[in-house]
Point group: C2
Chain length 492, copies 2
């Protein structure tokens, strides 16, 4: 267990909060609900951004940037959208400060009041569709496939670092299409991009599915999500992709002249996003009581090298060997850091990099030099091996692949062990209470039943997985007929 | 001249405004003073970001992220800082909207008033130094070398796309040091990084120098800037690096235990930034009456290939050859796009890519195929050559280097022709009136003289170039003694 880190068994929630701080990922700022993302945490975000950005571009999207501010009137144009976001909006009302004439210091200048208040974007559908209106006249202007990397603000009352913050960083894709089919294909394509990213890069197995009506994005006709399981048996919604139908096109009067009949039709829309919340999911899914466990593909550096030495001469000899080794590792695109600080002992460094989740640690001392070996430790399994320095880069490359796969398999196994099929409400409650995880159960499809289950058990329908076979059954609560099981869980 | 583009001679300012729109770089949004950066404009920003980010990391900096909001009280802590920014602050006062009970639609909920107003960051010194206070105890915690990529808001009354907008994108470096010397070295290092970026990537020659006291950043002891010359003879401040002394450390009480005497000392600070304004400078410095001229190192794509064909069969043959060619170009890291759209004629495409400033155009038709040649046109000189397809990738690589250098040399020549040494105020006014550009003149070092010159001629001291030799002289206006010339110009 890392110095003073609460164990998961003791208090999972506290373990998470402490780990985010101790591993130097982020901290709470002086502004309520807003976080400071520290360099080590931000480096993970940069890795995520790089991979996702490439995936978006490979699927035909370009980046653009739209204003931070949304005029209040835009907000009101799509009824369910404003209903969904109105309660958590940061509102700009003035544009100037001044010195108080009565010596009370700096005050907001009452004369600098905006004619129309501006909302800090909680999401950008409205400002973007107001812009698309001018860009779209004919089918030739479609599709529009844009993404934006941005900060957004939702005035959440209860916040937690990465998982739920008033300001967060994210990307939001906003696409416009000539046909419903094309928009639905886009919606599905992007939720699949997210699932691929989660599984291949975050080593996080996810369930793809559609949200129930009451859990849909405000303004969407269908919301797809990816849902992952954390180590405390709670689910985390890790990304969403929305089929918006013609709702925003109608709200902002965006029509195009179609190819066939040259008549004016409303444009079809999608939007999709993932955020810095993913970092919270990454931490909670894989880390242990010693600290972070980072999948090699997203680790700020994959290998840390620690010299074991007495005196400057020994260090110089080791460093020479290490420089060679680093060059070889970098040549095959492995990121590596050498910690030759004299101010800390090796034991301290070992604990520090375990805490920070560096996938592989290489320790090298004078005896290693003599033998042409190094000690290689893997973070995921906390095991060590003595490895020949000759050809060590290939060993490490292979090891990093193994670690990536092992972390995924562990998470998958955990999920399998914590996915339960139940047929009675008693069993449902018992599982949620004692075992946690995903519960697959029949549901009659009504809001009322969903609401009652939520109130009584705190579990919600995470999504309706598309891959599940149709299966006739009866709702566990009402006994009404059901066409298939849905995925329940308590969630973040 | 591009379709409907005003010429520079006719109206430079209008030429710029039209070009930004016609080349699909950006447009005004529905929110006063805020722009929409369109994909082609954003792609230039992404190129800039990638290069700068690498340069920052190579000079030892890491990225982090701090809140968008700054509590009003933080702002007041550094007196000259608040004075500099108070008049252009967007202020958040409420955190909720609601349905008006009298049916007036969505209104700001008066009950959701913040106890303390939040300012949208116009720059982040205050929120960052409030954070650094907790990070810094001892000399071991120094230096801190951070950068942030972010949006900021300054409520400007007169805005222009890229050059001056209420919201803009930028990076802001914020560093903390144990000694004054170290902080000054950092300040200079970063203005040099900006100068290198401007000259090597933007092909934009710049003058590095210090600002006069009245033009310094609000809160700085010294501000370094890079100043570039636009084609209308006006200067553009393209980047600044500030030595902040201990001002922010004192305002936020940030002290460290020093190594030598273990006594508490205030920390030394720098900050430095460049913004999307650079895109405005890039456009204004190089482009012509046919449209953009982009330096190859920052062009979203460097080569456009246009097929000249009749019928699908010819196109198929050409496309086959083009695919080969593109592979070879991409193999040596040249970005290339193939425009095989049937909906537009070659002539239209030629004009379009000239407007968009693509550095090299390759046109290829059936006769070219027979001869094994292609027509290669360069955007900067608007000249064409017939080139053998065999080995064309090396020709293009070389050509792109030549174009990059040529654009820089042109800008340099323009600057040399528009830099005038003057010794009398009459001449000074005459040059500003009729020739424009930079004027090197003696100044007595007082605010009063600077102010008078500004009021009478609209010219300001752009900076005091460090490379200029000391030279005894007399102020052209007051006749008082001067130790050297400074750089005057009208500016954006």
């Amino acid at each position: 267990m890392a110095k003073g880190l609460t164990s998961r068994a003791e208090n999972y929630s506290q373990w998470y909060n402490e780990l985010v701080i101790k591993a130097d990922l982020a901290e709470n700022s002086a502004v309520r609900g807003c976080m400071v993302i520290k360099p080590y945490g931000y480096a993970i975000w940069e890795k995520m951004q790089a991979v996702l950005d490439k995936m978006f571009k490979e699927t035909g999207h370009e980046n653009a940037y739209f204003p931070l501010f949304i005029p209040k009137s835009f907000f009101s144009k799509e009824a369910s959208h404003v209903e969904g976001f109105a309660k958590e909006c940061a509102v700009v009302t003035h544009y100037r400060l001044k010195n108080d004439e009565n010596g009370k210091g700096i005050i907001v200048d009452p004369e600098a009041k905006l004619e129309e208040e501006l909302i800090i974007r909680p999401t950008s559908e409205t400002i973007i569709w107001n812009t698309y209106k001018n860009w779209i006249q004919s089918y030739r202007d479609l599709p529009i496939l844009l993404n934006q990397w941005a900060n957004v603000v939702r005035w959440e009352m209860r916040t937690r670092l990465f998982l739920r913050t008033a300001e967060f960083l994210w990307q939001e894709g906003h696409t416009a299409h000539a046909t419903q089919t094309e928009a639905i294909i886009e919606t599905k394509k992007m939720v699949n991009v997210y699932a691929t990213f989660a599984e291949k890069y975050m080593a996080l197995p996810v369930h793809i599915g559609t949200k129930s009506e009451s859990e849909r994005f405000a303004g969407a006709l269908e919301t797809y999500s990816i849902e992952a399981l954390m180590q405390d048996g709670k689910a985390l919604q890790a990304g969403t992709s929305h089929f918006l139908g013609q709702n925003f096109a109608k709200a902002f009067d965006v029509k195009f002249a179609s190819k066939e009949e040259n008549k004016l039709e409303y444009v079809w829309a999608t939007s999709w996003g993932v955020s810095t919340r993913l970092i919270g999911g990454l931490i909670m899914a894989h880390s242990d009581d010693k600290g972070l466990v980072l999948p090699p593909k997203l680790a700020p550096y994959q290998v840390i090298i620690v010299p074991i030495y007495k005196g400057e001469q020994e260090l110089a000899k080791i460093s020479e060997k290490v420089e060679e080794m680093m060059q070889k590792l970098r040549n095959i695109d492995i990121s590596v850091k050498y910690d030759n600080r004299d101010s800390q002992k090796p034991g301290w460094k070992f604990a520090e990099y375990e805490l920070k989740g560096v996938p592989v640690r290489i320790a090298i001392g004078p005896r290693d030099l003599e033998n042409g070996t190094a000690e290689v430790a893997r973070r995921d399994e906390l095991t060590k091996e003595i490895v020949n320095i000759e050809g060590i880069e290939n060993y490490i490359k292979n090891l990093l692949d193994q670690i990536q796969e092992n972390i995924f398999q562990k998470a998958l196994k955990y999920r399998e062990q914590h996915t339960t099929k139940v047929d009675s409400y008693e069993e449902f409650k018992e599982i949620l209470e004692n075992k946690g995880g995903f519960v697959l159960a029949h549901w009659d499809g009504t809001k009322e039943t969903e609401e009652r289950i939520k109130n009584e058990t705190k579990a919600t329908i995470r999504n309706i997985p598309e891959y599940l076979p149709l299966e006739d059954g009866v709702d566990m609560l009402t006994g009404k007929p059901s066409k298939g099981r849905v995925l329940f869980a308590k969630s973040y």
